[in-house]
Structures are given as C-alpha cells and as structure tokens.
C-alpha cells in the first residue's frame, strides 16, 4: 500500500486564513479538505436587535474587498421587506458603484493574486521586477476603480454613501464626468494586457458542477435580478432558501452550501456561462480574442473570464456616466414587519441576505450566504478531480497547481467564516 500526503500550512494570495489537506492512498485521492480555521464572525447574531437601517453599514464590515456587495444585498432585502422598489436612477447609481467594486476587486485578483501563478512568481511584487509595465497598468486600472468608489460611495473602501432607499447624496455631473477619462484610460490599459493573459498555459479541467447566478434583467447580472441555474431554473430571490441549505463540516469554520443537495458554483464562470450573451460588444470581443466560447467550464480560465468582466465593468461605468440624467438620491422608507430577501452579484459570486424585521423596523434575525461558502464543496471537488489525474507530478509542482486551483475561485475566507492553509498529504 502506498500513501502520499501533500500539505500547505498557510495559503498565500487569498483573503483570510485557511489551508488544504489532500490524502492519496494506492493511487486514489481519498480525502480533500479545505481547512478553514479563521474564527467565525457571528455577524448574523450581532445584527439581531439592530435597526434595519444599520444593516448595510454593519454587513459591509464583513469584507474590505466587497463591501458594496454587502451593502447592496442588505438594501435590497430591506426594501423587499417594506415593499419598496427604487426608481431607475437609484438602481443605475447602485450599478455604477458596484462597477467600481468589480474593477477594484477583479484588477487585484487577476494581476496581483492570480497572474503570478501563471507567470511563475511568488507574488505581485516579485512579478513587478520583470513585468513592470503590466504592474503599472494594473495599478492604474485598480486606481480607476478606487476613484469611482470614492466619487459614488464617498470613499474607496467601505463606502459611506449607501442607505436603505438609495443614497445619502447623488454625485454631481461634474464629479461623474471628472472620473470618465480615468475609466476610459483604464479600459485602454486593460485591452493591451489581454494578449498576455490569453497566452497563459491553462491546465485542463472541466468542472461538472451546476452554475448559479442572478438572471440579467438589465444586462450582465450585477446589482439586481432573479435566480437562474444551468439546470434551467428561473426563480424569484425569495425562493433561495427552498434550494440552498448550509451545513457545518468538521474541518471548516465556513458553512458548506448545497443547492438541492448538490455542489454548485457561483461567480465569474457561472455568470459568464449563463449570461455571456448580455455582455457589451467590446467585452464580448475581448472574450473571443481571449479564446473563450459562449460558456467556460475550466476554472483555470477564470482569470480570462474575470478580465472580460473587468472590461464589462469599465464599459458599463462609462455608459452609465454618459447616459446619466440625474434623479432623487433616495426614496422614503416606511417600515413594517415582514421578511425580505436580497441578492446581488459580488465579485466572487451571488451574495444572498434575508432578514426578518419587527414592526418597529428592528432586525429579528438575519441569514447571510456569501459566495465562498457556496463554492467550498466545488473547490474540494475540483481538487479531487485535478489531483487524481496528476499524481505523477513532483510534489512541489502538484502542490503549487493545487494552490492555483484554489485561487481560481478568488476565495474570500474572511467573508465565509462564518474560511485557507494548503496541506496536500500523499500517503
């Protein structure tokens, strides 16, 4: 009997703290575990008793990378509870703010966290030594996202301008047109980098999982929509709990989610495979130039899909600014008791919030399902499939490829703990 164990104690270039453990016995992958030891966060419990109006800013603190996602899902859930549908200008301004978050988050992951894997560097700083132009351009792209967040959200991290019912203040036309040139320049920078990314050597892996995202009511899914799966389901956001069940597993402080009992995937691959037809013409052209078809099931190519989404976010931001015609910053909020659901597309995938509100507007209970806990079982399954076919690889190379396979998901452990360190055991 031969046993092989691979182990990485602390996974780098992911957000938060976790590891991985893979055990192989007699040529068969026996166990794959993402060990998430970052402590639980208890956000859902601390929301109880707080006013509904506090939920967007409290939940934004779950993540420094995707605070807008938390704010948007919280606002939609509260507005659903109170029977409010915000006017079109507010929805558009939310979409613009969300574009800023996608630009910040995707630029960071594509160029600083994921590209070093394909170019053979330990990290973005080492990569800068040989690819100075790439890193300079990536910094400019990320900066454009920061500026957009600052103009619409009040600051580049944890925006302060969002509230249930809309915004505290709408940005002025002068502020919006002021950031347009930087967005256009960032789009130009990004287009120049596409051939480099498209030329990466992508390992073969076809994932079998179901894809789950919001349905696009207004173009590619972002700030609103209903539930859509690759299995053909179209359902309202309120039915989320009828399909998704979270369970605790021993090796993880993040809950594992299953959709009707099966593994599934949220995020760029799901959004792209379900909605590539809704991309802007430039983003669609970049997808073709990068060698992507109408769907993409190879998680290693997620870096290309994120790049396409980055083009889309820059395009969409410019479009919204060009068509902006003003509007009220917010609508009045009349509280009432009830249950509300909200879901938006965080950079890493669908983020669902559900609240039960008392008649004084206070929160009775909260349920928050972040993208990384939804993807966890599929990450483990990808690793199982991936390692099984590559057992002849040297230990160091296989371990590195496993880490890359995890970073395919841009996992946000801090969000999911309610998550990573890589241990691959060959026994």
């Amino acid at each position: 009997m031969t046993r092989r164990t691979m182990k990485v104690g602390m996974l780098a270039r992911v957000e938060g703290e976790g590891g991985m453990h893979v055990e192989v016995r007699d040529g068969r992958v026996e166990q794959v575990r993402l060990n998430i030891f970052e402590p639980p966060r208890f956000f859902e419990a601390l929301l109880r008793g707080r006013d509904h109006s506090e939920a967007p800013d409290i939940t934004a603190r779950i993540c420094g990378i995707c605070p807008v996602a938390y704010q948007m899902s919280a606002c939609l859930a509260m507005e659903d509870t109170f029977g409010i549908e915000v006017p079109e200008p507010i929805r558009l301004m939310r979409r613009l703010l969300y574009c800023g978050e996608w630009i910040e988050s995707h630029a960071l992951h594509v160029f600083f966290l994921h590209a070093p894997d394909f170019l053979g560097f330990d990290g973005g700083i080492e990569m800068a030594r040989e690819h100075r132009g790439v890193v300079e351009a990536a910094l400019r792209i990320k900066h454009a996202g920061n500026q957009l967040m600052s103009v619409v959200g009040g600051r580049s991290v944890h925006p302060v301008n969002v509230k249930v019912g809309g915004f505290h203040r709408m940005p002025t036309m002068v502020e919006l047109t002021g950031i347009r040139p930087e967005l256009v320049a960032a789009r130009h920078d990004l287009l120049d980098l596409v051939p480099l990314l498209a030329g990466f050597d992508f390992p073969d892996l076809e994932q079998p999982h179901m894809y789950f995202s919001l349905g696009a009511e207004h173009g590619y899914p972002l700030e609103s929509g209903s539930l859509v799966t690759s299995a053909g389901l179209h359902a309202p956001v309120s039915s989320f709990g009828e399909h998704v069940v979270e369970e605790h597993v021993e090796h993880s402080n993040a809950l594992h989610a299953r959709f009707d009992g099966a593994n599934y995937v949220v995020g760029p691959l799901a959004r792209y495979s379900l909605h590539s037809g809704s991309l802007s013409s430039l983003a669609a052209e970049v997808a073709r130039a990068a060698g992507l078809g109408p769907t993409c099931r190879n998680p290693f190519r997620s870096i290309l899909v994120r790049t396409v989404e980055l083009v889309y976010a820059l395009d969409e931001a410019v479009r919204i600014i060009d068509e902006w015609d003003g509007g009220p910053a917010s609508v009045p909020v009349d509280v009432r008791a009830g249950v509300g659901h909200g879901a938006t597309e965080a950079p890493r995938g669908l983020l669902y919030h559900r609240y039960r509100i008392d008649d004084d507007g206070s929160i009775l209970d909260a349920w928050i399902v972040p993208p990384t806990s939804q993807n966890q079982p599929s990450v483990e399954e990808d690793l199982r499939l991936f390692v099984q076919d590559r057992l002849d690889l040297p230990q160091e190379e296989l371990t590195l490829q496993c880490e890359t396979a995890i970073r395919n998901y841009d996992p946000c452990i801090s969000c999911a703990t309610h998550f990573l360190d890589l241990t691959v055991h060959h026994r």
Partner: protein, 143 residues
C-alpha cells in the same frame, strides 16, 4: 524642493491615529513646497509619491517596544516584509515601489510605537507626549 508628508492611520482607533495627528502638526508650519496628506490605506501611496524629492510617511508601529518611542527608518534600504493577502501593507507598498523604480530620492518612515489600538479610543498619554518628538523627526527628515 518638493516634499510630501503622509499621515498614515485611522483616527479614533487609539494610537493608530497618531500618523494623521503628526502630519497635521507638520502641515501647520506652512513650509514652501510641502504637501501634507492623510491616508488610511497604504496602497494609495503608490499613486501619490511620484514627482516628490522627499517623502516622509508617519505611521504607528506595533513592535512590542516602549510606547511613544519614535523611530526614523530609511525606506530606501530594503527590509523584511510580511506575507500579504488582499491588502497591501506599508512594507509591501515600499517593496512594490522599489521594483517599479518609483521610490522617491528620499523616503523616510517616522514610526511611533503605539500602545492601544482599540476602536473608539483616543491617543494614549505616552503616544500623545511623543507627537512633538515625531514632528521634530519629520522636520529633520525634510531638511
């Protein structure tokens, strides 16, 4: 000569707020060619330092040393850096600026050892007393 003083830190997070307090004091001196800014995230530094002859970053430090102790570091000398996740720390930003050839000709870090970093607290007395010492250190670095 053009110079930039950056107060790095978050006010109302105890001694983490000392950077902006020291930078504000330096700003009151109204030196010609001197710009003073306040930052909460070091990553933005990369976009700010271009074109300055001298940059001084004032930041709180947590090294287990004596609270209030002021240290002056030459950021042009390569040092150690911690492993990063989704956010760039000051050491990583300096390392990245070095790789990109964007280190200003003079780049100094004035670090003040902090004691308490709790949310909702002001500067601790020993760090408060170190503010004039840190201001002098910034002025010396700018000479």
């Amino acid at each position: 000569m053009t110079a930039l003083v950056v107060g790095l830190g978050t006010p109302d997070r105890g001694d983490d707020g000392v950077g902006p307090v020291v930078a504000a004091e330096v700003g009151r001196c109204d030196l010609p060619g001197l710009h003073v800014v306040r930052l909460t995230a070091p990553a933005e530094l990369l976009h700010l330092v271009d074109g300055y002859d001298s940059v001084v970053v004032v930041d709180a430090l947590r090294s287990g040393g004596v609270p209030g102790r002021v240290r002056v570091l030459n950021a042009r000398v390569p040092g150690n850096r911690a492993a990063g996740t989704h956010d760039l720390g000051l050491a990583e930003v300096v390392a990245l600026a070095r790789e990109l050839g964007r280190l200003p000709p003079r780049f100094t870090i004035v670090a003040i050892e902090g004691e308490c970093f709790d949310t909702g607290t002001a500067l601790s007395p020993r760090v408060e007393r170190a503010v004039p010492v840190a201001v002098d250190a910034v002025m010396t670095a700018l000479e």
